[in-house]
Each structure stands twice: as C-alpha cells, then as structure tokens.
C-alpha cells in the first residue's frame, strides 16, 4: 500500500449529496457495492453483490418495447422480473438498460476512479466547511473495496475534509488499522449480539466485528455504534445489555444511533427480481422510544444520538 496508484477503480452504486444522517454536518455519501454480510433486512439490497446489477422498475415502464428488441433473448422484461431467470439467462450485457428511455431498467453500479470520486466530493466543499460536514464512505462494506477506499480517504484527507466510514466491521484487523489514520469517525453497525443468531441472520461471525471495533477504538478513532432495530430479531433486553457492555469497554465511542428497520428495502428487492424476500415488521415510534429508555436504564452514561 506504500506506492500510490492514481487511477484505482471501484464500483459505486450511488453518490448522495446533502446527506445529513451519515455523520456530522452536510456530507456527500459514496455507496460502494459489495458486502461480506447478507442480512435479509438490508435496506440497500443492491449493495450486496460486488457486481453490476439491473434494477427493473415496472411502475415507470412506458411499454415502448425497446428493451425486448435489443435483448439477445428477446424478453428482457420477463427475465428481469424473476431472479431465477436472471441467473439462468441474462448475460448482463446491459443493452436493455442502455436503450430504456424511462430508466425503468437501470444499471446499478458504475465504475469510478478514485480521482473521479474525489472531484465529485469536492463539489460540495464549501458546504462541508460551513456545516462541519465532510464525506462518508458507505456501502456495502467499504473495506471490501479496500484499495479504492483507502485511496479516496488519503486524497480527501490531504484536502482536510472530515471522513467517516460506515462499516459492517467485518474485514481483516490489518485493513482497519491501515485505514484508521485517515478516518475521523466510524459508524459501526452492530446487528445482533448473539454469536449464533448473528451467524444465522448475517452469514458472518460476530466476534471479529467486535474485536475490530476494540482495535479501532484503541487506536484512538472515534466511533458511533449503529443499531438497526427489528422487533422480530433484536429488540430485547439481552441485546441491549450486550450492547451496553460493548459500549462501556470503548474509550472513544461518541454514542449510539438507533435505526428503525424500514420496509424500504422491499421495493428494491422487487426491482432486483427478488420476490420472495424475508419481511419484518417496522418498529413503532413507541417501540423505538422504549428501546431508547431500556438502553439508558441499563447504563445512563450511554449517549443516544438523534
């Protein structure tokens, strides 16, 4: 990682300006594709695969027929509506997305060089300066595209911009230690605190996530714990107690943010042709404030951020 290559490329599925929930101030959030976890409640299911995908949004299709004409199989829309057919047939040639005038078929994931990302980021520089904002790299898991992420971070840091990484915490310890000097704040997702359940729901072990968190914390980087709350999965005292324990072991933690599960991801699943996805119930406002109280009851030193 010593030598710096200027045109490191990465796959990005969205760049969101005026993002106000991913760290302090006004931020630009860069969403990278690819995640080592596979949570079925994911609100950005298009972030999970590291490759391009196609969104098909039937609602805005104007029935012009261009996609079918250009598709080598002659039935793009049919293919895209069914995840099995997609696997079987679609060659991901993207011809349909290129011709679709209505953006009903849309390519998710675009290659950027780190320089291109930096110049996108720089567009809102005065807004960051005037709101104590900066950039957030999110995903997916930013460290899955490690070279790309660290290159962006280094370049951005040189311009004195505040940097945040929104992470699943799942990557090698070394990688975390290497990016840490260029990161002002980690938003650290903790989904489930039971080892077995974690594995069951996310497909990944819990332990490294917590170990990495401690390492980053020891290094001196600030963290905020992000807890997604799903009534059927993790809204219980046992989880809150475990969180409180983790929290009190940390030195540089800034607080906890509670994120209610949202069905929002479902419509995106449908656009990916995934029809039979798991669904959960959304916590009510009352359940959210109860959760907040429950955590503070366990340890009133814990700062719950809005």
């Amino acid at each position: 990682m010593e030598s710096e290559v200027n045109d490191i490329k990465g796959v990005v599925f969205d760049i969101q300006r005026f993002s106000t929930h991913d760290g302090p101030g006004i931020r630009t959030t860069v969403f990278l594709k690819g995640c080592p976890l596979a949570c079925s409640w994911c609100h950005n299911p298009e972030s999970q695969s590291a490759h391009y995908e196609l969104f098909f949004n039937k609602k805005i299709c104007i029935d012009c027929g261009s996609c079918n004409k250009t598709c080598p199989f002659g039935n793009a829309r049919e293919i895209l509506q069914d995840s099995e057919l997609r696997k079987e047939k679609c060659g991901s040639c993207l011809l349909c997305a290129n011709v679709c005038p209505a953006n009903a078929i849309e390519k998710v994931g675009k290659i950027y060089t780190s320089d291109e990302i930096v110049s996108e980021i720089e567009k809102d520089l005065p807004f960051y300066e005037n709101s104590n904002g900066g950039i957030t790299i999110s995903g997916g898991e930013p460290l899955l595209q490690y070279d790309f992420t660290i290159d962006i971070l280094k370049k951005v840091k040189r311009k004195n911009i505040h940097t945040t990484i929104d992470t699943s915490g799942f990557a090698s310890k070394e990688k975390f230690l290497e990016v840490a000097p260029y990161v002002d704040l980690f938003l650290w997702d903790i989904k489930i605190t039971d080892e077995n359940l974690h594995k069951k729901y996310t497909g990944a072990p819990l332990n490294p996530i917590i170990e990495n968190l401690k390492v980053v914390d020891l290094y001196g980087t600030k963290t905020i714990l992000s807890l997604i709350l799903i009534p059927e999965v993790n809204m219980n005292d046992q989880h809150y107690k475990a969180i409180a324990n983790i929290y009190s072991d940390l030195i540089n933690v800034q607080g906890i943010r509670l994120l209610p599960y949202h069905e929002y991801g479902n419509s995106k699943n449908e656009r990916l042709g995934i029809m039979n996805h798991d669904s959960y119930s959304e916590p009510t406002d009352k359940e959210m404030s109860d959760a907040c109280k429950a955590i503070q009851k366990i340890n009133n030193q814990i700062k719950i951020l809005q």
């Binding site: 300006r17 005026f18 104007i62 012009c64 209505a102 005065p126 807004f127």
Partner: protein, 742 residues
Amino acid sequence: MKKVDRRDFLKRSSAVGLGALILGMSKDLVANNRIDNTPLGWNTPMHSMAPKRLSDLTHRLAKTALSGEHGRSMVHADWTFKERDDRSLSNNTRYALAAMSIAQNAPLRIDSGEIIVGSATLLEASMNNVPLAGLPSTSHTTLGYQNVLPIGYIGLRKKIESRLKQEDLDDKGKDLLKSMLILLDAAQVWNNRNIAYLEQKMASASGDEKIFIQNTISTLKQVPENPPSNFREAVQSLWSMYAFQRLMGIYSGIGRIDEMLGAYLKQDLKKGNISLSEAREILAHFWIKGCEWIGNTDSKGSGDAQFYQNIILGGIDANGKEVTNEVTYLVLDIIEELHISDFPTAVRVNRNTPDKLLRRIAEVQRLGGGIVSIYDETGIIESLVKFGYPIEEARSFTNDGCWEVMIPGKTKFWYTPSDSLVLLHSVLGLREPVQTLEYPDFESLYAAYIKKLEENIADVNRGIDNVYQGDDHPLAAMFVEGCIEKGRGFDNKGPKYNVMAIHYGGFSDTANSLLVMKKLIYEQKYLTLSEFTQILKDDWKGNEPLRKLIQNRFEFYGNDNNESDAMLQRVFNDYTEIVSRVKERNGIYRPAGISTFGRELEWLPQRKASPSGNKSDAVLATNFSPSPGTDKKGPTAVLKSYCKMDFTRVPNGAPVELKILPNSVKGDNGIEALMGLTKTFIKLGGFYLNIDVIDSATLIDAQLHPEKYPNLPVRIAGWSARFTTLNKQWQDMIINRTQQIV
C-alpha cells in the same frame, strides 16, 4: 361574500369586553379568556414543535385572527360623503375628504386584550381599493415609516406646512400638500375615536382591566401624533400609521422593523422599564393585528391574505453598521411560536452575520411554511450601486411586497412580467407560422432567440414610457421622499425614484430547451430541427420514448453540471445586458428582474410543448429555480448551479426556492445542515433564498382533511399562503413540486 349590516357590526363590536394581559394582568381575567373558546378546529397548538413563550391570551387572539373571524365580519363603506361628486373640488381634496369621512364613520374594532389597537375594518380597503371614492388604491412599495415614525405626524405636518410656505410650489403642488394636511387631520380624528371608544369601555371596567385600558389610552394620546417615547409607543405608532394607510386601501410593506424599533427597546431595557417577554407580547400583538384581514374575501385561488406586508430584518444600515438587535430575535420568536405567515419576512445576511442569528433562522425555517427567507445583501448592495443608487441608499434596501428590491420611503415601484419561454416557442414556429426555420447551426438559432428577446424587451420599454401619470395617492405620497419636495403625487413621478422593473420568467426551461436542441439537433444530429418542431407541435404524441430519454439522460440546470449551467448563464447574461441598455427613460428606472410569481400557471395557455421534454400542460419552473423534477442531486447542487450566476447583473433580483424534506433536517444536525446551506449561499454569492421544509404526505393529507390544517403555510413563489385556502390547481402544483424532492 357576506354583507354585514354596519349598525349591527357596531353594536357587536361595542359589546366586546376587555380582558387584561401582561400589562396589569389579572389572573381571573386571563382565566376567563382561556384557549377553550377558540374558533372551531383551532384547539391544537399553532405548531406542534414550537416552544411556548407567549401568554394564552395572545395565542387566543392569534387563533381568532388567523381563523378569519375578523375578516369575515368586515363591512362595505355603505354611506356617502357629501363632497363625493363636487367637481369644483380637486381629486386630492375629495380623496382627503373621503378619508375624513372614513375616519369619522368606519366601524371601530378593539378586541378584548389587545395591546396594539386600531383596525382597518372596511372591505373595500382590504381589496386594495379606496373606500367611498370607488378608486383603486396602491400597492407594491414600502412606504417611509422609518422617516415618519421618529418625528410623528406632528413632525410630518411641520414639514408639509413649511414646504407650503415656500414660494416655488405650483398649484398642483399646493393642492396636493393641502390634501395631505386634511389627511393628517383625518388620522387624528380616527385616533381620537379609538380613544373615545376605549374611554367608554373604561367607564364600566374596574381593577386591572381599567389599568389595562388606561395604558392603551395614554399610548394613543401620545402616538402616532408625537414621537414615541418608549417601545410600546413605537410599536403602536408604527401600527397606527400603517393601519391608517390600510384603511385607505393601501397595501404597503413595513420594511426594516428591527432598525425602526430597536433603539426604543434598547433604551427601555436599559432603564428597566420593560422585560424582553413583555416586549415580545407587545410585538406579537402587532403580528396578530396584521392578520385581521384574513377571511375578507373568498380565496382567490392563489391563497388568502396576500397584502404584501413585507418585513425585513438584519443587515447593515446606511452607515454600514449591523442592524441586528433584540427586536430581530423577538420577531423570529414570534414567527416560530405563532407560525404567522402573513408578514412575509426576509433576513438580510452577509459574511459577518453572527452564527446566533443564522441558528435562529434555521430553527424557524425547520418548522416549515417558508415564512423566513434570506437575502445575501452584499451582492445586492453592489448591484444597486452599480445601477446608480448612492451607497447609503443601496444599503437601506427593502422590498416591494414580494422580494423585488427597492429603496423604502423613496420609491414608486411596479414591474412588468413577461415570459421568456413563449418567445422560444415563437422562434420555433410553435405559436404562429414563421418565415424561416433554417438555422444551419446552434449559434444562428440562439441568435434568433436573442433577437426575439431584444424586440420583446424594446416593446416592454415603449410600454413603460408613459406610465406613472396617474393618481396622486396623497396618503401614500406623504410617506415618500420627493413627493412633498416636488409637490407631485405618488403615481405622478413625485417619488425620488420611479421604478418600473422589467421582469422575465421561464429562463430555466428556456436554457434547458436550448441545451437539448444544441445537443440533439446540432451535435449528435439525432434528428433535424423541423422533425423536432413537428414533434413539439404534436405535443410529443407518439414520441414518449424520446421525451423520456430527454428527461432522463440530460442533467439540466440545478444539478451543478457546468454545461447546462453555462447555457443558463449565457441566456442570463444576454438578458441582463439587453435590459441594462435602457437604465432610465422618461424619468423611469428599469432594473432587470427574474420572476414568475406563480405565473407559471397563468402562462400555461400560451405555452407550447418544450424541447426540454415537457408537454404543453406541464407547470414549469418558478422564479429562478430549477424546473420541477429536474434537480436530481439535491439542494447543494441547486445552490451551486444557481450561484454560478453573477447577481450583480440583476438589480431587481432573481430568487431560488428549495424544498427540503423534514426528515433530512431532523435533530441537531438538521440545524447545522440548514445553517450550512445559508452560509454557503452567502459564500458563493446568491440573491434570495427561500427554504421550505415540507413533505408531500402532509400536503396530501391537508388536501383531503383541510379541517385538520387550519394554519399550514406553504411557500408559493415569493409569499406564503395557508395551503387549505389555495384552490385545487394551486394545491396540486405545490404537491407535485414537493413530490419531486430528492
């Protein structure tokens, strides 16, 4: 419109009891005025997130005024005065005598518990007409309250009398100034009637109530005749002067209220004569008084209560010193708490504006309604100086009734609105047959458009040459510098500055359309100009894919894209250059402005399909904002695009509106974000910014259940209106725009 019998009204108004408030407050009396007896549907707080600092009684008065109860019980001036048809008298004399008759006969209304009193109770007045005289009154200006308030009517009278003594006034001038003296007498008659009315009340009152009325009476005995000696008198004097103008049907802005009132409050606070919360109550009653015309007529579609009563806060004064003071913050407190949108308020900010003020603005903005807007004053002052105003005057700018910049108390202002987009439609032969559609390259097409624009502006200029030979409006004139000195009336070039601003709208869509043609026809040669115009003539019928392609593949103005922004910049520069060629002619100034003021609806029947992918029935961009749905990169990108323009080229202004979802400005960070938008707007050099925090779900619910939202202000296009008083077409336009927020 319900007609109320005047005697009946008088009987009812005299039956109103008097309550007590903070100034000599009695617990019993306040208890009797509890919020329970508020008008139907008003048992909710003014805004669910607003803090409560003002008294219950003040809230009740606010709700009553906002409910339209007062407006609905207004009456016609149904009597006549004997000089009405006496042609031996001059117009101005008859105007003044009409005012006298109104002062003597108009119903009075002083509500229980009101600290600030005096009501313009005649329906004709609220409709911008001179009651009794049957003439249109005047509007679109901010009169010189800042000049008259400190000297009182007594000082004004002296000024008029001493001018009359000078030999050089001609007969017209003498006639005008004499009528002004009658008007001052009329104002005094009206004030005395209000005093007598209160004295009558006092006779049957006791205890604290008596003291309360006594306080009001002694205030009225001092002002507006004499210079105010304290804050309460200053607020009352300003209201009395303003209300008397209103009684004669004049719609005026108020202007820089913190500059006018700040010194009085400071002195009172220093002496310990008043607390900040008392001052807030007093000022809140001024705001409530400003709502008493609500409900005067059925809504005109574009929302109720558009009386152009604009307020300006903050900014530097004539000498370059920051104005912001305690009154500035009190005003923001009041707007935050009562959520009254009827005084559209704009704050002048600059790079030195304290964070404390920016934070308060953000906190008020976040509650929605778009009530408080922002002027980046540095560039505006520069543009006014460039236009030719002395720096001291430029620094004292206010606005006319929307956001068009003018010098208060010195200006007759009006503007001519035109649509730039229909000119493009004409060039393309969509509106009438054209001689040629042969444009071998984009430059020749562009040149044809600019030529059309030039011709159109020349027509507008010719039309302006002969305006301002109208009525003297002596009551307005005596508040405007130049009229007394010259002996000429308000609409007869009496004012120091006679301004007819030239406004065009539709530039965002014009530039987007030009970009599409440049790319598709001339660069990519995707189709020919005549093929394209045929598609437009057919209103895109059968060409939906192409229309969608244009909408989805182009990054239009508002996305911080240099190419599309440069196209708008080019049109903007050419437009402002053309208008600047005739700065003044026939004594009339003609600064350029960019606006639609909601005319994007009115212009629809003339507009055709646009090259930017819009059908002929699409409601397009408002003012200088991006076209609805085209700003796909959010508010920071919109501001970046907007601020690429050099606003010192548009001395009359070009505003941008941002609609932001409540969810994105939640919590402490939401305030940081809103402040960040404003600070960057200042840093990049904008003109006028309105941020409305709103989501479409709320608006859709309000459309279905208006009774749940009696006071839901939304930003329209230079003013805010209560959403439920808009007609369906306007509501749909606002909902549609709100649904486009990214």
